[in-house]
Symmetry: C2
Subunit: 232 residues, 2 copies
Amino acid sequence: MLGDEEARHLTRVLRLDVGAVVAVFDGRGREFHAVVAAIGKHQVELEVGEPKVPAPEARIAIELLQAVLKGDKMDDVVRDAVMIGVAAIQPVVTARAEVSLATLQRARRRERWERIAIAAAKQCGRAVVPPVREPVDVALLIGAAADATVPESRVMLVEPGASAGATPLSGLDPAAPSQASLLIGPEGGWTSDEVAAAAASWRLVTMGGRTLRADAMATIAVAALFTKWGEL
Amino acid sequence: MLGDEEARHLTRVLRLDVGAVVAVFDGRGREFHAVVAAIGKHQVELEVGEPKVPAPEARIAIELLQAVLKGDKMDDVVRDAVMIGVAAIQPVVTARAEVSLATLQRARRRERWERIAIAAAKQCGRAVVPPVREPVDVALLIGAAADATVPESRVMLVEPGASAGATPLSGLDPAAPSQASLLIGPEGGWTSDEVAAAAASWRLVTMGGRTLRADAMATIAVAALFTKWGEL
């Protein structure tokens, strides 16, 4: 049974009728062939059939922790991150993010990013929709008690010269972790306070000496980590 | 001495006056501090001073051979390819590119992409502007006589399942070449004829099992190759 919005999309936009064959997925990795069985005013009944083979999920589950970008640039980041294959998206509010948690909540931005994640998963053939988590303040992520040793799989991307403790991506252990976290800053970059606070619990990593667009960083960095760890 | 367009930008858009300090670069790797010495009606005279230190160039010179994409998507590809650090851009017309060489020439698209490359180089701190070559037909690239052995540095990106001879990116030799070519198809992908013809002279490579946006492929693939070869 499809709800109002999906049913309207199916009957008004796609103009499908009873008997049409569609694909449905449950958002947790399974996709099915289905046939439109009945069309009501606010809902559509589907007869669900055989499971389909979806695009494979990445073996390495990367959680993208992305500073919220200006305007609707975050929409593109969410879409491309889902398509390249991240496991989860955690929006982060930082000193230079120029937006507050309250504003994000009032504008229901997380709900918007969730809809974008669903559309992107459909488009790229993934049957798993990565969750878009409730935005958090960066202090919650970097203010945690320092670990004895920082795991190589907790990567914070910093600009060249941001910290003496930063290493190029090529310095990471090529042995693939089963999961990793990738923390990426906003257009204006991290403040020196943020970098200093994070150094105890994150591996500070640089990627080349050229400036890249903030909204292109996530896909580039995920592609680089996937390559480093043999996923691509 | 600056010509008409740059002079107008400097005086009308940036509203700089005599005495203002600017940076100029010669497009071949050198950047200089300069002072506005005199402003004429159609030109501006600069006093050129000390050289600046630009962003480092990549050690591996990757030539991006990109199928022309629809609308202005190619503009974004050129911009991001320059920012991530390719050495040259070769636009390619393919069977599914939906544009002809004559149309590209009539619309002076190469000149447009050159201007975008210059702007992107400025923005990311590169003093070298990668050349944007005259568009060519893909047959010229893939119809060449087959080499005895295809070098690992001639990479043609293909979809998973496009060819039995394709290998994942992880299968490439990690030893970094000094230069490489990267051939990327259009939105609709390569035809099976194109893939078959290219197999003799290009290394067919796949990147993961998920569908990616055509206009995001170039930066993702360059990032992956740079990572594979220790450049990032």
